[in-house]
Symmetry: C2
Subunit: 179 residues, 2 copies
Amino acid sequence: MAINDADLDYSLQFYKRLHIEKGEFLIRPQQKVGHFYFMQQGCMCYYTKDDSGMKVMEFFTEGQFFTDLYAYISAIPSGSYLEATEDCMVYSISKEDALKSFDHSHDMERFGRLSMQDGFMRLFRRNNHLKNLSNQERYLRLLQKRPDLFQRVPQYLIASYLGLTPVGLSKIRKRLVAS
Amino acid sequence: MAINDADLDYSLQFYKRLHIEKGEFLIRPQQKVGHFYFMQQGCMCYYTKDDSGMKVMEFFTEGQFFTDLYAYISAIPSGSYLEATEDCMVYSISKEDALKSFDHSHDMERFGRLSMQDGFMRLFRRNNHLKNLSNQERYLRLLQKRPDLFQRVPQYLIASYLGLTPVGLSKIRKRLVAS
DNA sequence: TCTATTTATTAAACCAGTTTAACAGGAATT
DNA sequence: AATTCCTGTTAAACTGGTTTAATAAATAGA
């Protein structure tokens, strides 16, 4: 969609560049989430953790807008981790500044609505796959859609993302090469 | 949030009242989805169907805005069913008219953005529960959050919504009364 | 280079669900 | 009242995953 140049410039002034080293966190449980991020370079892993271990919800890589959207929107402290699995370069904008952009311009408000639509659709697809596909199908699909992940993050994180244990994923892989 | 009266009136003029009888469909696969709905009275079941049977994604009841949001946003023909499990009274607005409202008013554009946020958060929670809770926990939570459903829709639909077979849900119920 | 740590595979026992099928109670149809 | 259909439960056999533990292979640190 088109945003007029003046409005775009107005918004861009707010973004700040951030470096996060591998193993560092952008978000931890109990923290308030007041920023939206854009991944310029690197990979971060978004996960929850309870007594039964960690559950990877999403991987964010180059070109993606991201944050703990639930905590961001609701203003409820996060219950999740956002951890760099590599050194990262990220742009960030505060919620306050994002809202300033929306107030300032109908175009930006629309951009906000469409971005939210976009995030919604991604989550919707993910939800559908979780409901309708087998673990093996989801593994094959991920392999096809985001092959880079298999090169850059350990397999046990991918297993968790797929809703499996490392052992379970290993079995699926074995089953596949056998056939 | 507040919308000024003139803008609200402008939008409300577009809504039309609709009656759907039990067993009728508001949406079927292959159809384009060009309307947004508000449930005034009744209950509809949103589900997909493939060779391995139906999968209930959501139930919509009184007071909820709804549609096949994925098909609505993407303009891709639906892959799902939206079926009345009871006689329903529904208000509908066309996509075209909704966009007219957004164009006409910054307030309504914002309302659109916030509604999308709302839908996103619901889906997000649902996704989290699917990932983090056991079938039994999800059953108990549904029982607590939407007790009305258990009175108005057959148990095999609820089983499907929970990602179970009717047999599976029956076992869980049995296990629970035993303890 | 050696050691310690992290990651991936395998095996064995186990378990929560599935599939299939039989059956029983209720509601709707005749 | 009899019949049919729909819904929910139960039982038995099965299955795709889990858990635990041992082992191997790769990586990082000293």
